[in-house]
Symmetry: C2
Subunit: 356 residues, 2 copies
């Protein structure tokens, strides 16, 4: 007693001990009803008399009852949660996709947990395990590693998967993507039309499918225009980040003028923004000395030092569609796996255009 008096913080601490939370049983006892009735108040309130309901609700309030979701899920077999495992939470492109996912999930009464693999294969694998063990309703993922055996096994074990911004050749899940090859073609075709002869491609690592496709699109555009493959210089980066973009900018600016490309196509806008910043700070003029095309058309592309020409993707729509496919898969017994492909669009701005 005197101890409690002397140490109020300890009281607080004790209160925070785990395991003290009241469960349905305690509520039932307090309200003087049975277990089942409490459960009915929670799940089928209309079939319990107003009087009883009031008693139970009062008991819940006074005991600070919090439903135990684990127990609930255990019984139910699956949760009301859906997860989006992002490639890079720091890239506005993916947070826009996430916004679309949230939109669709909310409309269906589900919640979304976002996870960030940060382009790290191990992190991705860990999260996949975790989410499967959590028995989430389904997983939306923009994979780092498209050959992940973990990923392939999920659907057959009961966790639906929808691949976002990528199309796997696997038939076990839906996917929603944008035609990245076409996007690459658009970018390079635009630069060729402007008269550029030597072009750099900045992107990497090559484990990322988007990078590969966009590069393939770039090459194919060269071919279609009957240019040599040597017209494309490849600068490989370790990730698709602003910092890597700056690094690439430095390498670019370091080239002797006669071998320096007059235009650069970056695998995403973060790279492009970093590259742009570095070029400007090293005295190269954009677009006079170097023209730059980005990819994604994130909100910041238009607000850049030199507004960025970029290949636009329907970001939010991508997320919304993916979530809808997932919901269909987990609720509709006649679900057929689909591969939805959207078409990108080139948005031309100052970074490739002479004038203001």
């Amino acid at each position: 007693m005197s101890v409690d008096d002397a140490l109020p913080e300890q009281t607080r601490r004790r209160r925070a001990d785990k395991g003290h939370t009241a469960g349905v049983k305690a509520v039932a006892a307090a309200a003087g009803v049975s277990l089942g009735t409490v459960s009915n108040v929670l799940n089928r309130p209309e079939m319990v008399s107003p009087l009883t309901r009031a008693k139970v609700e009062a008991a819940m309030a006074s005991l600070g009852f919090v439903r135990n979701e684990s127990a609930r899920q255990l019984r139910a077999g699956s949760s009301r949660i859906l997860a989006y495992l992002m490639l890079d939470a720091g890239n506005p492109f993916f947070t826009d996709v996430a916004k679309g996912v949230e939109e669709a999930a909310q409309a269906a009464g589900l919640s979304v947990f976002l996870c960030n693999s940060n382009e790290d294969v191990d992190r991705e694998a860990d999260y996949l395990d975790l989410l499967e063990q959590q028995r989430v309703q389904g997983i939306l993922i923009t994979p780092v590693d498209q050959n992940s055996s973990r990923l392939r096994k999920l659907p057959s074990r009961g966790t639906p998967v929808v691949v976002v911004d990528r199309a796997l050749d696997d038939a076990e899940h839906c996917s929603v993507a944008v035609n990245d090859v076409l996007g690459g073609e658009l970018a390079i075709t635009h630069l060729l039309e402007l008269g550029h002869e030597l072009i750099a491609f900045v992107g990497g690592p090559n484990t990322i499918g988007q990078v590969v496709d966009r590069r393939d699109g770039a090459r194919s555009a060269l071919e279609k225009n009957e240019r040599s493959a040597k017209a494309l210089i490849e600068l490989t980066t370790g990730a698709l980040t602003v910092a890597e973009g700056r690094g690439a900018g430095q390498r670019l600016a370091g080239l002797p003028v006669d071998r320096r490309p007059s235009a650069v196509f970056c695998a995403n806008d973060l790279l492009a923004l970093g590259l742009l910043q570095q070029c400007v700070s090293m005295g190269l003029r954009v677009p006079e000395d170097v023209a730059i095309v980005g990819y994604d058309d994130i909100e910041f592309a238009a607000a850049a030092a030199v507004p960025l020409t970029s290949v636009r993707q329907p970001r939010q729509l991508l997320g919304r569609t993916a979530a809808e496919l997932l919901l269909d898969e987990s609720s509709n017994p006649d679900h057929e796996h689909q591969r939805v492909t959207f078409t990108p669009e080139l948005v031309v701005r100052t970074s490739t255009r002479g004038a203001i």
Copy 2:
């Protein structure tokens, strides 16, 4: 039989039915050991003989055993997951904070679920309920609504809470913040030193504490410099987004020249970037016609059309510290609630400086 033959997709569908997943019981049966032994293989592998372990592991692999995290948590009482409920996942500031959180969590062997309240009070409340019901280890939150009764109740019920980028007057949890009042003062003092007489403050809504503090800092700087309160024109926005920033830009540019502020202090960088973009597109020169100061110093601020002067916060450190406090709270019985405050720093760039 013939039906199965004719419709291979249906087979696939059936396989994806829920409830078929093998549990410890099935594994035990398949390996010819008891339930407890399987559990030992999972949790204390060193105390089961290599031979038995091999048998069990083989059985797990062949049955595709996936641990049921719900059941696990139910027994254990809490999970190995920690959640960060963000104010706006589209704002790079918060994703940087999240990165710090993930860093600290990973070091401690925990996983992080990110949730996005999107500045919506109801969404925030829903997520808080959900996370509490999930019995997460703890919740990191940048609150929309600092008076949320839900939020206040959490710690006493056993879910530790750390408030990020905000300090509540409540004594029931730790908080990690940056001195926003000081940040506001830094910004305005800088503008006054440059000779600006009429300054606009752009930010809102006023339910967001950061906005209020930064505005208060702005006012206090005026006072300290013996200027009239009228020297600060307030343009209130509905959210801290690029779009709202553009709107504010439009309102600003619409003012008659003699009543138009020569400088603007924006409550965050997104507003500043939007405002900057709008001003430029409406023919105002920055910084000649309008000087702009942002807040947060996100990576994109430096890459903007006109590199942005901004108040820098230690973003990642903020997240890391918050997560560490949370971990301490849930593991250390002698934990004392702390209120950590970092100091912001003004980064001057072209948007407030005459020359290049």
